[in-house]
Amino acid sequence: MLAPKQMSRLLIVASRDRMAPVVAELYRHHLFHIEEFVEAGAVGYEGFKIGTPLSGAGEASVDLVKIRAIENATSIHGDDIDSAKICTSTELKSRIERELPLLEKEVVDLMVRRSLLDTKVKENEQKIAEIRPFLTVPVDLDLYRGYSGFNVFAGYVAREVKLSVPCEMSYSPGKDKNFIVIVAPAGERSEVERSLQEAAFQPVQIPEESGTPQARIDYYSGEISTMKTEFDEIIKKLEAVRTKHSGFLVACEEFLKAEVEQNEAPLRFATTKQTFVAEGWVPSDRVDAVTADLVKATEGKIYVTVLPIDFEHDSVPVEYNNPSFAKPTQVLMDVYSRPKYTELDPTLMVSIVFPIFFGLILGDVGYGLILLAMSLGLRKFLKGEDGRYLLTVLRNASISSIIFGLLFSEFLGFAIPGLQPILPSRHLMVEHGSHGPMIPDLLILSIWIGVLHISLGRILGIINHARQDHGEHRTKAMLANFGWLAVMWGVLIAIWSIAALPLMPNLTGLPPVVSIVNYGVVIGGVLAVLGILLIARDSVLEVVELPSIISHVLSYARIVAVGFSSVAIAMVVNFISIGMLIQPQLENFSIFSIIVIIAGLVVFLMGHALNTVLGIMGGGLHSIRLHYVEFFTKFYKGGGVKYVPFGMKRRFTED
């Protein structure tokens, strides 16, 4: 909690003939984050070379490529398939040897046939396109060829051509282009060509066909339709392969991927002729288990030790360590940046505060229920881990939205009858007995949230600097963070002492020093000046950023503003659909009313659908933005390396 999982740096040394069992054992544990060896002459690694893959790497890779090709052809994706243990590795190995070549041949044959048909269909379509212009000329296609004393011209012209030489001509005017065919004596060729050139002649190739153009087009169309039937059959066969073998194929892929990864692991180790050295990271609480199993697998012929961590130079991989309800929020953290190993991990705070902000913005029972249904319904379609996590975040947010909807007494923009809002009212319409919008209260509430959230950020900033920095810089940075706090609270105290505000402490009653300046103003002023001095001591340039205190705190007013925009849209939709369309028609009912009422219902549904989408965008984006921009900038840097343990989570195979 609030800190990443503790890691230990593990050094493994053994002779090269023990490499295979060590790799297999590490892979099975799925805990060892390999620190890749680079041949750059690191101290202590002189003379070491990058290892070579284990035997069998080539065959497994070839098989993996085959499997992936089949999966591509039949569009199988492992993510779309529910995980189920299908068979053990030994079973799978024999099945791959037995079934894979046959399956590959079947799929490849189908694919070849499919692409062949595809080309043929295209060829025939091309031929039809070539014959089509000749449809207007009532002559068999073989009559266009084979003359020694005549020339045949066919093509498009811009206007009709008048020839002075004796000839046969067919002219068919079209919409954009006019088609012309001319048969003229060979001796008159140049004369004909000249006249045609004047009419902007574009020649068309005469098809090598015999028979009437219509008959040929019918023939080729028939061919295309038979080919399309065959094409559909192939698609059906591929579909059958997909349904029959998808489980086997994803299991194969997983098994072979594991093989290939294991075989290629030595490429990341440092080796000499006789030995190999692997360095990496293991969660501290699992070091003993991993060590014991490695010793067992190599019958004790191995040296495993924990190295000290050098925080200056080592980039320790970061694995989140959160209680299960905060886990889904890790997705939102990764979007920004993973925390560094030495940094506070704010995931837990985000997982609590994010839904609260979301609920404050979209506090509406109706929308909350819609989003809750959505987040539960979409679970069927999203099978990846990140997608699931996002849906859980949405679920938590929508539950919070329902709770705040009850507190605000809102249901799709209506007031919930008989339920007075507990929080300051957001109802824009003053209805009988209900309160109008309490804007000042709501704004001050949001300012309070901002002040507290930012103060928390600054306190975390002090802790982070205390943990990460050393020497003089550490003190200065910590005091600078305290300075920011002092300026903010100093200004607040001064404001409280000058003006009485709702929902805020009233310090105007303190004994005055000069005119309206009372002790509160003096204390506030002193705090603010002290704060500025502390900030300037760390970095003078930071003083320029002082106005950001006001802009960041005021930025939290978006909680109210965005919330209001959503209430306003809901209210407008309700007014147009019910107040303007449905209600008057119900009072004076006629046949025509039915159409208007249906239109009113459509407006109602579309309007609220739009507002739901805007609600997710507004509620989600603005809450997370308040975290990223206003909260994280106070203490959080991120940039940690993701912990990627060697191995995989097996979904379809057993080890």
Binding site: G436, P437, L443, R558, L621, V629
Partner: protein, 90 residues
């Protein structure tokens, strides 16, 4: 004499009219606050959005980050909205 009196009443506004006119001014001010900040946000997001789409086209992983960068200028319109709400309801 009577005609002059009528003209005088026409020119001088009644208290109700003055109140109504003030409400109208408030509404115009609120509309300007939201409208102009909206335009400003739009202009600011235009440049960021263009770059964001470019960045996402090159590397899809940046989507989350650039989406955030794109919504940063929304603060401007939100301040406008807050000002409008204060004008209308406080």
């Amino acid at each position: 004499m009577a005609a002059e009196l009528v003209t005088a009443v026409d020119v001088v506004m009644t208290v109700e009219q003055i109140k109504a006119s003030q409400i109208g001014m408030k509404a115009i001010a609120a509309a300007l606050a939201v409208g102009m900040t909206g335009i400003a946000t739009g202009i600011a997001e235009m440049a960021i959005g263009t770059a964001a789409v470019g960045a996402t086209a090159e590397n899809k992983d940046t989507f989350g980050l650039v989406l955030l960068l794109t919504v940063i200028p929304e603060t401007i319109v939100i301040f406008g909205l807050v000002v409008a709400l204060l004008l209308l309801f406080v």
